[in-house]
């Protein structure tokens, strides 16, 4: 697409980092969109529109902390423009107080740049005439200033009318990014994603295709962080954040969730949960994590805490374009896991046994190896390695210290501390104990 800066006085600045996406001399900037062409952007309007949504994305966004929604709205992050949010769940006024600025944006005289955020999928109600109703509506009274209608305005009308002038279009959540459950098999609304609705050639006024932040519900921080990163870029303060071939923030979605899963170690050692509530890898109770791009276990769900597998929940692929049908039925092991899981059971089982041996040794102070005793009151552990352990340790240490210093040998020469086992040396019979609690405490 060619970009014509003439309506904006030809004053657009180029952003050096943008070349990776739009070509080196692509004029990306703010001028003419209502902001000041000479200085950084002071404020940006955000129209948050809910289509076929459950409002869960809004709820998730208010859980964000890096930055929080109120950080963005109150302009608390240095150098970020103040975000003027028009959000149905947060707005002060009702009705036209919310929709008036949106109408101005549609008419092209908002006087400031705006970003549109869509939560929820897009129904196919453009397929029938307005008189036949809608599946999702917001605001009433039509778009024509002379319109006399009192019928609700279809969300789909807002979406296409706001598209050309938007500085950026962000789809939040799996419904908006890929259609999600409202677009699943058997749906009767013809729902689709924003990208499907606007089409392959859509570019915002700044030349950006739809930005997709998936998740059902998404991680709040994934959304606010993306917004902050894009705004910093618009301010010429940061590189254009990296997006992948589907418009996902690449730094958030390029890894599989399995790679950072707290249970990945179980998988590697070939131990699997047999039922819900077990601690091990969840693949056999239906986890699709090895083939799902999501960062929730790394980032946490809220403020660094939680995350599906962290809490014991199996991944159902809710960030993926194929959700839900390509991961159904839930709570059933994915077919691929029979091969990969089966193989890890064999080699993981062997590796696990070797590791337990190393751990047995690692759980001993060098001192205990010397005296052949573990002085723990918690368990009766002799600490004497078996002949098998000894042979093993011999070869293991040979390998470990090869080309370096053999700390094991040095430890053997270490003198024993003289005050070891001090109570016995002082003649205190610690088996008897002292009657600290008296008869205030009765043993059960």
């Amino acid at each position: 697409m060619t970009y014509d800066p003439s309506p904006f006085g030809g004053k657009l600045r180029t952003v050096p980092y943008a070349g990776a996406v739009f070509g080196a001399d692509y004029p990306v900037g703010l001028g003419g969109l209502g902001g000041s062409p000479d200085g950084p952007l002071n404020e940006v309007h955000v129209f948050w529109i809910a289509g076929m949504s459950c409002d869960g994305c809004s709820i998730a966004a208010t859980g964000a902390t890096n930055p929080s929604v109120e950080d963005l709205l109150l302009g608390r992050v240095p150098n970020l423009p103040k975000v003027i949010l028009h959000h149905p769940v947060l707005n002060p006024g009702a009705g036209t107080e919310l929709t008036r600025p949106m109408k101005k944006a549609v008419e092209g005289n908002l006087g400031a740049p705006y970003v549109v955020v869509l939560e929820g999928s897009v129904p196919d109600d453009q397929a029938f005439p307005t008189e036949l109703g809608y599946f999702s509506a917001m605001g009433a009274g039509g778009f024509d200033p002379d319109s006399e209608t009192d019928q609700p305005n279809r969300v789909t009308d807002w979406l296409w009318k706001l598209a050309p002038g938007a500085a950026a279009y962000v789809a939040i959540g799996t419904c908006a990014t890929w259609g999600g459950i409202p677009a699943a098999a058997g749906n009767i609304t013809g729902s689709m994603s924003l990208t499907d609705f606007l089409g392959k050639d859509y570019r915002s006024a700044l030349g950006v295709p739809v930005v997709n932040v998936p998740g059902c519900s998404p991680v709040g921080d994934n959304f606010t962080e993306t917004v902050a990163a894009v705004l910093l870029f618009l301010q010429n303060l940061a590189p254009l954040p990296k997006f992948d071939e589907l418009g996902r923030p690449a730094w958030l979605f390029e890894e599989t969730v399995h790679r950072h899963c707290p249970k990945a170690g179980y998988y590697e050692e070939g131990v699997f949960a047999e039922q819900e509530g077990d601690n091990e890898c969840l693949v056999e109770i239906g986890c699709w994590g090895p083939v799902v791009q999501c960062n929730i276990v790394e980032r946490g769900a809220i403020n660094g805490m939680g995350g599906c597998m962290v809490a014991g929940g199996a991944c159902i692929g809710c960030t993926m374009p194929g959700f839900p049908d390509k991961y159904s039925p839930f709570y059933k092991a994915p077919p691929g896991s029979f091969i990969s899981g089966g193989l890890t059971k064999i080699n993981g089982g062997a590796i696990r046994r070797l590791r337990r041996m190393s751990m047995k040794s690692g759980n001993r102070e060098a001192l205990w190896d010397s005296v052949g005793e573990v002085p723990s009151g918690w368990a009766d552990d002799k600490g004497k390695p078996s002949a098998f352990d000894k042979t093993n340790a011999f070869f293991y240490k040979k390998l470990q210290y090869r080309g370096s210093v053999h700390q094991g040998k040095r430890n053997k020469k270490q003198p024993l501390p003289a005050s070891r086992d001090i109570l016995r040396q002082k003649g205190i019979d610690h088996n008897q104990g002292t009657d600290v609690l008296g008869d205030r405490v009765r043993t059960r």
């Binding site: 929080s68 009702a94 107080e97 809608y134 605001g139 699943a184 059902c216 519900s217 809220i302 805490m305």
Partner: protein, 562 residues
């Protein structure tokens, strides 16, 4: 809103959208601005996604995670109702620890949702900028009025509270955002994520709960001891101030005190997943199921509650389904079921022109015993208080006309709170009840944490969280009856050959935000709006009292329409 002049004084107002409610809601109203009256009001739910139809033809193991997405405000409530429906259909029940864990999640959901509703949706309508604009004389009075609860909440004057309620910048507003995150931090430890938890399963839960989880949850919940005392003190002060300054505020959002609820938080040793015994186990819930009509207790039997529910679509964008023979003529206990009962319903959408005289909403009109009913956190208090069935009385005591709540000491001393069923029911009292419901949920969370720790201490099968199941091959039915954070949540499922043949969802806001029924009776919120006087002295056109009335119902529209 937009206004067009119709008659001399009467204007057609369009509150589209009604903001600061969850989801797509719009109100059309005829308002006599000069006379300060609302003549007529219609509630428009402006969204339809067809979750019930999408669920048909699926594996029942998909039901929990798909139906949860019907509503992002109470996803956990829907997931739980769905798990209960699966358990009934599969003939299983979770072990006690699995039930306790679900109770914890349900209570933590309230600890997130109640403050969020009270301070980010409802609160700004009572904040300094709004009161100064609409009723400057009240602001002057607030500047002269000491706040009785200052020892608890720390605000000297009522005016200070109003300032703190201001959107985004007010202390109470931002604190609610913060507290809501703290509650959700605890939630995701065992739920994985929020608002759609990833750990609910038929037969229990898949959470791995250890001492660390219990410790962190305990710390988060004890924060709410003081916070809930504070929230109650704030709303007691705000509500009493408005009612004393202008007694007509009691008419704002007035309603007949008719409530329906299914109760939530199961007794881990009572719930057994069967319909036939539901009357007994549901009465052992931490909040009692039942129906109240005009302030009088009608039943506490969850089977009767279920049996009395009917859904009408005379003014909704659906076609009637009753020409077909009903799927179920009676419930598993033998109670007769109407053809309009949700388990007999079919979802047949028919989008069309919006016309309040004919069809105007994607919300159906559920009624109980053919009466419009209110749902929500206030209903939970009313039911529990009037029924006096509550079996768990370590911290709570229903009196027949109220509910006593003993909130333990934290930084603030122990508080004995008592919510009393008010004589006049309206928007302000709804908000007050909502605040007390936060204290109620805090105590339920704490009691279940203690119970959970005890189960962990004792170990054995009771400390398990999950029961194996087989999906039955023939025809089976499951009804998930659950109180949910925002109230009444029922899922009605029929399985055939291991596939969902029919799935119906009824949410709390379907009741409150319903359009008129076939008899022409308005929905509870429509009626409350019509009952509302416009009390703004400086800016009646803004209709702030209408918005206060609507928001006091705390609707969640995605839940209502699904």
């Amino acid at each position: 809103m937009s206004a067009t002049r119709a008659a001399d004084d009467v204007r057609e107002m369009d509150f589209d959208p009604v903001t600061r409610v969850a989801g797509a809601l719009s109100f059309q109203a005829s308002v006599d601005v000069g006379g300060g009256r609302v003549l007529d009001a219609s509630a428009l739910a402006t969204l339809f996604r067809g979750y019930e139809v999408i669920l048909e033809g699926r594996d029942p193991r998909d039901a929990i995670f798909v139906s949860s997405r019907a509503c992002g405000v109470s996803g956990g409530g829907h997931a739980t109702a769905s798990a209960l429906a699966c358990e009934m259909a599969f003939g299983i029940q979770p072990p006690p620890m699995g039930i306790v864990a679900r109770n914890l999640m349900a209570a933590l959901e309230c600890l997130y949702d109640h403050p969020t509703s009270l301070f980010t949706r409802i609160g700004p309508d009572y904040s300094e900028p709004v009161v100064r604009e609409t009723n400057p004389e009240l602001w002057e009075r607030a500047l002269q009025t000491a706040a009785p609860g200052r020892g608890t909440h720390g605000f000297e004057l009522i005016a200070d509270i109003m300032t703190a309620l201001t959107r985004f910048s007010g202390k109470l507003y931002t604190e609610a955002l913060h507290r809501g995150r703290r509650a959700r931090e605890a939630y995701v430890l065992i739920g994985g994520k929020y608002p759609h938890p990833q750990t609910l399963a038929p037969g229990g839960i898949s959470s791995t709960i250890d001492t660390q989880d219990m410790n962190v949850m305990l710390m988060r919940v004890t924060e709410f001891f003081d916070y809930s005392k504070k929230v109650v003190a704030v709303w007691d002060d705000v509500v009493d101030f408005f009612l004393e300054a202008e007694p007509r505020f009691r008419e704002v959002g007035a309603g007949p005190a008719s409530f329906i609820d299914l109760g939530q938080w199961d007794d881990p040793y009572a719930y057994d997943g069967t319909f036939e015994t539901a009357t007994a186990w549901a009465q052992r819930r931490w909040s009692t199921p039942g129906a109240i009509v005009d302030g009088r207790l009608r039943t506490t039997d969850v089977q009767q509650v279920n049996m009395g529910v009917e859904e009408f679509v005379d003014h909704s964008f659906y076609e009637s389904w009753t020409s077909q023979a009903p799927r179920l003529r009676s419930d598993p206990a033998g109670n007769p079921l109407s053809a309009y009962h949700p388990s007999n319903k079919e979802t047949i959408p028919q989008p069309g022109q919006t016309d309040p005289a004919r069809k105007y909403s994607w919300c159906t009109a559920p009624r109980w015993d053919r009466q419009p009913m209110e749902t929500g956190a206030p209903a939970r208090l009313w039911m529990t208080a009037l029924a006096r069935k509550l079996p768990h009385r370590s911290f709570m005591e229903p009196t027949g006309s109220g509910l006593r709540l003993a909130v333990p000491q934290a930084w603030l001393p122990t508080a004995e709170l008592e919510w009393r069923a008010p004589r006049h029911w309206g928007a302000l009292e709804r908000n007050r009840a909502h605040a007390y419901a936060l204290a109620q949920a805090t105590l339920v969370a704490y009691e279940n944490l203690v119970l959970g720790l005890d189960l962990m201490r004792r170990g054995g099968p009771d400390a398990g969280v999950f029961t194996h199941y087989k999906i039955p091959k023939g025809v089976s039915h499951g009804t998930g009856l659950w109180g949910g954070t925002r109230g009444y949540t029922s899922h009605h499922m029929t399985l055939e050959s291991q596939v969902i043949e029919s799935y119906q969802i009824l949410g709390p806001s379907t009741f409150t935000m319903s359009p008129r029924d076939g008899q022409g009776n308005p929905g509870p919120c429509e009626a409350a709006v019509v009952a509302t006087p416009l009390l703004s002295t400086a800016n009646p056109e803004r209709c702030i009292d209408v918005l206060r009335a609507i928001r006091s119902f705390n609707p969640s529209m995605s839940c209502a329409t699904h």
